[in-house]
């Protein structure tokens, strides 16, 4: 009897985490607001008025109301499935995103590795989209997305390894985000730990790549390959890509906050949600908005060598430092 009860309550809380908080509604709203702030701040940096803060909402509603055209030459199933792939991946991932002081994700599991596996899904969705739309631009976007993904996943893996080894200590690694947050509560945030600083910088550099913003917007470069994989998408399906991107933004930023600045403040869950959101926003402004406004797009091979040279090396330094327990 109690088993069934706990199962129901478990799945009910699971559903809550998936649909309301931290996934679902919360992440969607938060992600779209972040995108709105991103565009507004970028515009202000360029001395423009910029779009309204809620522009991403308007865009989404508009797209959902538009006619969805599926090109005749496209592989229809894949073409329709691709945006859902990224969307569901991100939805699941969000249900696991810890919000320090409020929610700690899964118990005793290597959920960090789950993040590592799920985070590339939107990029894979773009690749599927690119190859199914049967346009040469889609194909080029496919190949660029693939190269870029390889480029930024290497430093990400090393960052994750560095954090896990620092927490695990003595040559072992700990992949549970809950443990990582607890460890930092005792030993101080990694963002302020000297040996973890290189990994943090590497993560900052990873963010623009995974979010596909300049200088790493090669896969969707408008002036080169006409938004590549998204060229043929319209209406609701395009809206799904935008939703996915907004959710991914929350995950990528939230993951960074959890790994490097999981500190909480006194005052209950509501305050801590705001605190978490503020940290995400700050991370975004530094790693994405400023970076976007100050750089030009790289060529794909430049992006590849950049990622393998700098962020990977930085993260590797942290791995070594964590290993020798400095």
């Amino acid at each position: 009897m109690s088993d069934i009860f706990s199962l129901i309550s478990q799945s009910a809380t699971g559903l809550f985490h998936l649909v309301v908080f931290p996934g679902g509604l919360f992440a969607l709203l938060f992600g779209l607001v972040l995108k709105g702030i991103d565009r507004k701040v970028e515009a202000r940096l360029q001395r423009r008025v910029g779009p309204p803060l809620l522009q991403p909402f308007y865009d989404l509603v508009k797209l959902a109301s538009k006619e969805t055209i599926i090109p005749e030459t496209a592989n229809k199933t894949l073409f329709m499935y691709a945006p859902l792939l990224g969307f569901t991946g991100m939805a699941v991932c969000l249900a696991l995103l810890p919000v320090p002081g409020v929610y700690y994700g899964m118990e005793n599991m290597g959920d960090m590795l789950v993040f590592f596996y799920l985070l590339p899904l939107p990029a894979i969705a773009l690749m599927v989209a690119g190859s199914s739309s049967s346009s040469p631009f889609g194909a080029l976007g496919f190949s660029r997305e693939m190269t870029l993904m390889f480029a930024y996943e290497v430093p990400l893996l090393l960052v994750i390894l560095a954090v896990a080894m620092q927490v695990g200590g003595e040559g072992s690694a700990e992949f549970s985000l809950r443990k990582i947050i607890e460890y930092q509560r005792e030993h101080g945030s990694f963002g302020f730990t000297l040996s973890m600083l290189p990994a943090f910088v590497a993560y900052l550099l990873y963010l623009p790549g995974t979010m596909g913003v300049p200088p790493f917007d090669v896969a969707e470069a408008e002036t080169e390959i006409l938004e590549g994989p998204l060229l043929e998408y319209s209406g609701g399906l395009l809206a799904f890509f935008q939703l996915t991107s907004a959710m991914k933004l929350v995950i990528a930023l939230g993951f960074g906050v959890v790994m490097f600045f999981p500190g909480t403040v006194a005052g209950g869950p509501l305050v801590n949600i705001v605190w978490f959101a503020a940290k995400c926003l700050l991370l975004m402004l530094v790693a994405l908005t400023l970076c976007k406004a100050a750089t030009a797009r790289m060529r794909i091979e430049q992006a590849l060598s950049f990622y393998l040279k700098y962020p990977a090396t930085l993260a590797l330094v942290s791995v070594v430092l964590a290993w020798v327990s400095l």
């Binding site: 515009a43 865009d59 508009k62 319209s234 395009l238």
Partner: protein, 158 residues
């Protein structure tokens, strides 16, 4: 329904078709309208690279024979409901080029034009005024006040 259209109309994405223009209008609408002084983005507008993403299409030029079919095909690829804005004097009458051996315009022989922005080239301010007018027509179309293209007229692709 009305609230819904009110939200929809705040996100007009623009697509630019050059139908053989002298590039004056294109310079004014593609680049000048983006810069801080005019900033078309404050209206929620965005220039998109794919016709499939567009809501408002801006056409410049007198429509030469060689681009005609391509222009019409691209125009048809833009999902409904859409609003067409003819920028400059050329799409209206052919301008100084009218009567040339490869001029197929005026553009409304083939495409129903909703807003005309005359000028040679029009100032960025009047182009933005045209976009605002197009937004209004789009809203009417969403609310069913103004008929869309589908029921009214078809593009005749030769």
């Amino acid at each position: 329904m009305n609230l819904f259209s009110d939200i929809v109309v705040r996100s007009p994405w623009l697509y630019r078709i050059n139908a053989g223009s002298c590039n004056g209008c294109d310079v004014e609408l593609a680049t000048t309208a983006c810069i801080p002084r005019y900033d078309v983005e404050r209206l929620g507008c965005r220039y998109c690279g794919s016709p499939r993403h567009a809501d408002i299409v801006l056409i410049t030029g007198p429509l030469t024979l060689r681009v005609r079919d391509k222009v019409l095909r691209v125009w048809q690829e833009i999902p409904e409901p859409k609003v067409t804005v003819a920028v400059g004097i050329c799409p209206i009458s052919g301008g100084v080029f009218r009567g040339g051996h490869s001029i197929e315009g005026p553009i409304d022989r083939y495409i129903p034009v909703d807003v005309n922005v005359p000028g040679c080239p029009p100032r960025p301010q009047s182009i933005m005024e045209g976009v605002l007018l197009a937004k209004k027509i789009w809203l009417d179309r969403l609310n069913g006040i103004a008929p869309g293209h589908k029921e009214e007229r078809h593009v005749s692709l030769p």
